[in-house]
Symmetry: C2
Subunit: 199 residues, 2 copies
């Protein structure tokens, strides 16, 4: 049996075809031109570029390769579990759904590669390393940037208030304090312009 | 002046907002469920996962981080230059358009980061390193995989023949010989099934 028709290769191809579905998972955030909702695959791509070009703003020095890998795979579980809107407080069962999704999707890969994927995803979710905290900060920063760029499109649509945005996004400070300071200032401007309401 | 409102930070944010436009550049390839055309941002994301999980099939050992960075940025020039259909032989002016695009887009970044981006893009385009040849092979492999998965959707739509697919994709062999052997075999099957015509 040649390598390329081996079971291992078939597993890898199955996984790489399966992840294509992330392109159909829609987020609440719209593109910066407001034309349509963003999907989770292109969002992940965008985060990898943020990781690369904003690394000087991390709280601690990070292994940026690890961060890029984390953001590229952090949303794969949404293929089964869907995107949970960030300000949705009724997100019960989310953790369980996502764990089941990880089990199904990651295990399409050969065991060693599935283990690598679990390791990346678990690290991201736990937020206990500098890399995970930076990755998490970027995952918060990018939608805020889109909201600021589209006059609060997502915020206004869902009636999100300044207080909610602060509460949900301030943890960004841990991984990338300067990004949070920038955001905090822009949020006040957004309120002044009427793009974001107060509670 | 605090760091986050510095000129450097403003340049980085401008660049990171600008690249959002890659999500609106449509390719000829459709998603594996056939629902719509793929955009270049999600395509780049997909390639980064291929890079990570197929690295054992490279012709020579590669620095996979470098490959991932290359595939993540290789299509940015399309924001200005558009996607050139791969079997379009009338792609005159493409190189010039893409160079002008790189100049405008990469130079939104601070000089040191723009230089990093030029280095990645030039390396990808020149195909002279093992990393670039692998990245190029993946950029060929993924659309073929999508075509095989969608009963030759893109091939049939554009009347592409087996001979054309071979001619255009065989260079894949240099960077990832086993991927090419797999593709070559699947192409014959596609012809048998009527998903790909012969010239």
């Amino acid at each position: 049996v040649s390598t390329q028709t081996s079971e291992r290769f078939q597993q890898q191809v199955s996984f790489l075809l399966e992840v294509d579905k992330l392109k159909t998972v829609l987020r609440q955030t719209v593109l910066t031109d407001g034309s349509r909702r963003e999907n989770s695959a292109e969002h992940s791509w965008h985060l990898s570029l943020l990781a690369l070009f904003l690394q000087e703003y991390t709280a601690e020095e990070v292994d940026v390769t690890r961060v890029m890998k984390m953001v590229l795979v952090h949303d794969l579980v949404e293929i089964d579990a869907g995107d949970t809107f960030f300000y949705d407080t009724d997100a019960e069962g989310k953790e369980q759904r996502e764990k089941a999704a990880a089990e199904r999707i990651f295990n399409l890969l050969p065991e060693d590669q599935a283990a690598e994927l679990f390791s990346l995803w678990d690290e991201f979710e736990a937020r206990e390393t500098a890399e995970a905290r930076y990755a998490y900060a970027l995952d918060r920063f990018q939608p805020v940037l889109h909201n600021l760029q589209t006059e609060g499109h997502g915020w206004r649509q869902h009636g999100v208030t300044l207080e909610q945005v602060i509460e949900r996004n301030q943890p960004m400070e841990e991984g990338a304090p300067e990004l949070w300071r920038y955001v905090r200032q822009r949020l006040d401007e957004a309120v002044e312009k009427g793009h974001l309401g107060k509670g």
